[in-house]
Amino acid sequence: MLAVIGTVPDQTFPLTHGLVRMIDDYLIIDHRKIIINRGTPALIAAAIKTAGSIQDSPEIYAFLIGDIGKGDGSRKLYQYLSEHLSEFEFQVLTFHYLQPDVDWHNKVMFAVEDMEHQPILIADAGFMYVAKMSGQASSYDLFTPDVGELSFLADELAPHPFYTRGFILHQHNQVPELIQRAYQHKNAAKLLLVKGSMDYIADEHHIIETVDSPRIEAMEAIGGTGDTLTGMVSVLCAVKNFTLPDAATLAAKANRFSGYYANPTPATQVIDLINSIPQALLKVLK
């Protein structure tokens, strides 16, 4: 089973966990309905579409809470996870939009260590920021940064992408160098899937794979296209016979084809791309 941990942009949404389904353009969890836009709902929707397209895929479980940036919801979720996560069993744990908080992150990591079987650990968005800042990045199996976030991982002093130093930001086109620097300072997960005009799958030693087609320029502007990629790789890495680099490469290709089939403009919303995922997976798994 895959568990996704994140937030929804509704302050009144209570701490909720359970299996998630998708009906039309909504997620359903514990009888609650969530509109699929960007953020964690987009990641979960992409995971559900992926799981629905591949045999022997994991079920999708989620731990969600409302947070509009004040951090109150995130802290409640952190607390719940630190107290209860060890009672669950998951193949994959994907951490997503949570308010970065190092102390709480570390408590959650203790709870992960207490789980009977260690899951594959994936971090994206705010949780990737705090994973790096905690100094425990190498405990994770996969980070899915875009190139800007990779610059942040490569900057050993930056506590958030907002503070990435200019001389590192200027190396935007030198992704392999940034990857190397992130590993050099132990600020990367065991595997990186870097999203950009060319996607890179890399580990500490080398660039394992690159993916650059089809190239859909408009996807850069569409909020949630990184979330869908993380959702897809989270499911694929739990499927038998796929190694984590295999899953990352397939997800990178499928995400691009979801854009290709949705034929987007910069005004397209991510749900249109999510609905193209089954067709995209069919294409890349041929």
Partner: protein, 180 residues
């Protein structure tokens, strides 16, 4: 002596006095405090906190230490108080100040740090917000997408995190490019 505290003297004095930082409980308070202090004419800077007080998503306000009481008075009038005020003993992190613009023909996208905002050039309607990783990003997108630049709330009014602050910078840059 009274002239010493006049706001129009601040810029010259800033270079010769020690600096302090105001630390707030939430980033949203920093954003509010910055708005109030700048509106009142104080010369302050929003910066990153020193490592010993970083928690993960922080901003602090850097100011000339000698003006502490005046700034605190201004903030108290607006019912905002910092958790603590400390002198700066080491260089502070500087927020990203690079903007990247991408022209899609009918659409224009601006990126500041990790946040991107895209509008229709002709109508100035916000059509997408992407990037970021803090929980106010999906909320801000929900509030801004579909509205025009003139009608949309400023990200600084609704945002609470560094990602929200970065979106405000991108938004300001768009206003500068499109409305001036």
């Amino acid at each position: 002596m009274l002239h010493f505290f006049r706001k129009n003297k601040k810029t010259k004095q800033q270079a010769s006095v020690d600096r302090g930082i105001m630390v707030f409980e939430h980033t949203s308070e920093v954003i509010q405090a910055e708005t109030i202090l700048k509106k009142s004419g104080w010369v302050i800077r929003v910066m990153g906190p020193p490592p010993e007080i970083q928690t993960g998503c922080d901003l602090v306000i850097e100011f000339p230490l000698i003006e502490e009481l005046n700034l605190l008075r201004t903030l108290q009038q607006a019912k905002i108080s910092p958790m603590t005020v400390v002198p700066v003993t080491a260089p502070l992190l500087k927020p990203v100040d690079l903007f990247h613009m991408k022209d899609f023909g009918e659409y224009l996208m601006i990126r500041a740090a990790n946040m991107k905002i895209t509008i229709v050039k002709e109508s100035l309607k916000i059509v997408n917000i992407s990037g970021g990783g803090c929980p106010d990003v999906p909320f801000l997108a929900q509030q801004l997408v579909g509205k025009t630049l003139q009608d949309a709330p400023h990200p600084r009014e609704l945002g609470h995190t560094l990602c929200g602050y970065a979106l405000e910078l991108a938004y300001q840059e768009l206003l500068k490019q499109c409305l001036q």
